[in-house]
Homo-oligomer: 101 residues x 2
Amino acid sequence: MSDAFDALAHPVRRQILKLLRKRPMSAGEIADRFDLAKPTLSGHFAVLKAADLVWTERKGTSIIYHLNMSVLEEAAAVLLNLTEAVKPKPNRMQKWSTARR
Amino acid sequence: MSDAFDALAHPVRRQILKLLRKRPMSAGEIADRFDLAKPTLSGHFAVLKAADLVWTERKGTSIIYHLNMSVLEEAAAVLLNLTEAVKPKPNRMQKWSTARR
DNA sequence: CTCTTATTTCGTTTATTTCCTAAATACCGA
DNA sequence: TCGGTATTTAGGAAATAAACGAAATAAGAG
C-alpha cells in the first residue's frame, strides 16, 4: 500500500491513471500525450505497475495498460480511514486492537 | 492538491495523520511516538502543514496539531475521480480542464 | 532471416528527500 | 531577568527519484 502512495505522489503518474480511466491505452499512446522521453514514461509505468495500480496485456508489438480501479479505491479508503492495514494480512492475531486506542 | 499527495507519500506522515484522527496532539507528544529526532518530525509537520492537512494552535509552550479532515477527504475524492482540478473553491463547475489532448 | 515498430533496460547526471546535530527562538514561571 | 521546556531553523551528508540518450529486446510482416 505504501507503494501506491509513492506512485500517486507524482503528477505525471496521476495523469496517466486519469487517462486510463477513460479507456485502456498502449504505452506509446500514453507517452504521446506527455512531453517526456519514452524511457521516462516507461519508468513511470513500472512504478504504477509495482504499485498494482495498473495491469498490462501484450497485443502484438504494443503493450496495453489498464487501470486497476480497485487499488485506487483501496487507497482512497485508507485516506478516509487511515487504517493502513487493509492489505494482505493472512496472519493477524491481535492481542489488542491496532485500530483504536 | 499536489502537495497533499507529496505529503501522503511518506509513511511517517500518514502515521501522524492517523494519530491525529483520534485527537489533537502536541508536536512533542507526536514525536515521542516515533524513533526519529525531533527536528526530523518537525520537518514532517511542516510538510503536512504546507499541504494543509493539519493546522496548528499554540498553547503555552506547546504547539498543538489538528487534523484537517476535509483536505484528506478531498484527496480521497481525487483518487476516486481523478479530477485533480479541485483548486477553485466555491464554484467548481469546470467541465474540461487544463489537460490537452 | 531481416526490417520495422513498440517498448524497456542501462548508465549517467541532476534534483529532491530524508535524516541528523547544533543552534536559535518562543513561551512561561520564579 | 534567568532558567527550563518545547519547538523550529540551519547546514550538510546520504539515499532516493527523475530525467535523458543509447542500446537492447520483443513481436509481426515480408
